[in-house]
Symmetry: C2
Subunit: 470 residues, 2 copies
Amino acid sequence: MSRAAVLTSQVSDFPRWYQDVVAKAQLADNGPVRGTMVIRPYGYAIWERMQAELDARIKDAGAQNAYFPLFIPESYLQREAEHVEGFSPELAVVTHAGGKDLEEPIVVRPTSETIFGEYMAKWVQSYRDLPLLLNQWANVVRWELRPRVFLRTSEFLWQEGHTVHATQADAAAYARRILHETYAAMMVDVLAIPVIPGIKTPKERFAGAAHTLTCEAMMRDGKALQMGTSHEMGQNFARAFDIRFLDAEGERPYAWTTSWGASTRMVGGLIMTHGDDSGLRIPPRLAATQVVVTMVKAGEGVAELAGTLVDDLRAAGVRVALDDQVAVAYGRRAVDWELKGVPVRIEIGPRDVTAGTVTVVRRIPGTKTPTPVAGVVAAVEEALSADQAALLREAEEFRDSRTVDVATIDEATEAAGSGWARIPWAAVGEEGEARLAESAVTVRCLLRPDGSVPEAEDEPDLIAIVGRSY
Amino acid sequence: MSRAAVLTSQVSDFPRWYQDVVAKAQLADNGPVRGTMVIRPYGYAIWERMQAELDARIKDAGAQNAYFPLFIPESYLQREAEHVEGFSPELAVVTHAGGKDLEEPIVVRPTSETIFGEYMAKWVQSYRDLPLLLNQWANVVRWELRPRVFLRTSEFLWQEGHTVHATQADAAAYARRILHETYAAMMVDVLAIPVIPGIKTPKERFAGAAHTLTCEAMMRDGKALQMGTSHEMGQNFARAFDIRFLDAEGERPYAWTTSWGASTRMVGGLIMTHGDDSGLRIPPRLAATQVVVTMVKAGEGVAELAGTLVDDLRAAGVRVALDDQVAVAYGRRAVDWELKGVPVRIEIGPRDVTAGTVTVVRRIPGTKTPTPVAGVVAAVEEALSADQAALLREAEEFRDSRTVDVATIDEATEAAGSGWARIPWAAVGEEGEARLAESAVTVRCLLRPDGSVPEAEDEPDLIAIVGRSY
């Protein structure tokens, strides 16, 4: 069961390792149009589970799902100055439809702030209509010159929430609720990715936002990945789209809006946070298949025992699959299940039937334990719970081991060669950001000294987390 | 609680009634780009439940979800002659992206046969890879000159399945399995819409298909709506995209493919099958909210009793919501719940608390029954089950009462003024279809005399179902 030929090692060439995993675990292929991707069933099953977990938390936060059109009149984008400037270089434009040239070009949505704004203005009449909390699951298009599957694609899948509030305080509280209770909670508890919630610098803000909140994760090459963002839009979009409401005093002030999104990029983050030289490692809580019961070879009683274990595990609420492909060499199948990162594999061969034991193989710690048949369900439940926690702990330790406190831009740039630097924001500022940018290093987010998320970027004593990023 | 002003009546102006329901039940709005729609939360919740029910049945049929790109090179469509001819007039074309004019124009997918074909050809190597059963949930674009919300929109949401098989027989059996066990079963059992499965005439076939199977439903104005289709593609797409496989004899024959889709059009079908002059009537099995517990006005013990009933119903597995908006006049709320078609409404006022009874209002039969508090859960469960069956029965009776057996094209045309005609296909043929078309009447599908679905359109003794359609 040599693995030498399966994947490039992470240490020798991390980007190549990533491409290898994506291809060999059959997660995705490149699409025919530049920068697009075909998400294959195994990759899509990961995304479906992420969707389900996020969707439940979005509904818990009181937001309702809706669906807005793919096509946006070009004029909508132009109503908010920073927004149009931010997105213009990335737009795909439809100029011809139904056999004719169009009078006004149509933009394929790069994000939907503008079209939500147009309709929310109609739906919001009085303070009784607020807050208005909407979300949609959709595809969006941002033309990518340097695409990378899941991480930067010209089309990607995401959810985008858009909300309207009566006060700045209510909008700020909601944007933070989504950051912590929806995004960070799901990413930490389900994806086992120890994201750091923080606030972006003005330079790194979303186009048109007053403040951008972010969840930043460290990948196994030491680079950062932005896993989700939540934006306080202030009154910028309310002014651009005339979102006003009759308040209790009979005035019609502008409302305050937020928007927030997380995308298929999370799949890339999952791969690069937990993957190793044998392939993926899927956190048990996320895994669509938590356990695969594998028949090593045919033999008396093997299929029956495998069937019994599948039934017992399913009855215990475990998501289980059966691998009965005994015509395929077992070594090849074992390598494939490791590549795919299924948390637990149960091996059953003819001798196991006689002995009344099976082998429980745990992908995350990499252990193999002979286990009496009667103890399998309990052993699996314990393994799934322990390994979920172990993945998170391992990722935390890795991140902390690659993060250093520094005092100068030069030191920060050097630290960013292998991980992150923590540096007083006062020692960076706009000028420092420009110097970091010369080495492709950015401020990922700003934190308070106690690690909590600031109200704004200009609070005193903030710490900047600095690194290279995807 | 006068209803005169709420909706146009079905009898006086059915299309206007439809528009009124869509607007007043807050299902959808027209989008800013011609023919697009904004699906509002109440409409989207209906679609989400349809998706969940269909997705479970698609997975039961062994298909796996994947996601293919929105953008397709124009050249792909041109590889299958009938396909490009069928879709060319409806295409939206991206000519400009990332700040530049594109060398090759990109088509926004009107359907994904061609791009699935390209990749399935790579993934299928040998007979061991077959059948390959894929599905995707996606948006597609077909430019509409006469759009109508949910029924014909320039962008719509759907699922499209694409499968590859080793033999014609296997492909035909799978296309039929989807027709009956996935589409018809879900539409009859969940949507309570008594669809008729049949086969399309060559004139009405999908562009590029060998046979098109369909589920046809009758709306309350007597017109037909195509609710879902399943296509046997023969080897047309396999030849165009070189989908071949190594068979057991060492040959590399072309494979046989199918495709099948159902869309947000089903929401329109639901409205027009069950709606009445008071609004929607949602089948209990579909309803995201099956029961709304309404506080008629504030009063001692009202909120407590309402809370208890919500908890009891939820514990019994009922999907229940609370309406505690006592500041809004009850008559207005009652009209709104009727418009939205929630199957059961429970009214609780201060006198009910004293009496120990509440009023159970059933939207489908239109009854109001005082019910002892202790009997509410049982009464609700019985109502949900009975009313699901009643809706289906009512729709069946309506359809049968509007269907007549005729012998000539003239009689068929006349019958299509108020419903459907059944006529021997031998009395219609291509020439008859052309004559029907002069009165905007079409053959909806062909059936065997016993009502079963023919293998092909040229079987003897087939019956044509003829009508106007959406």
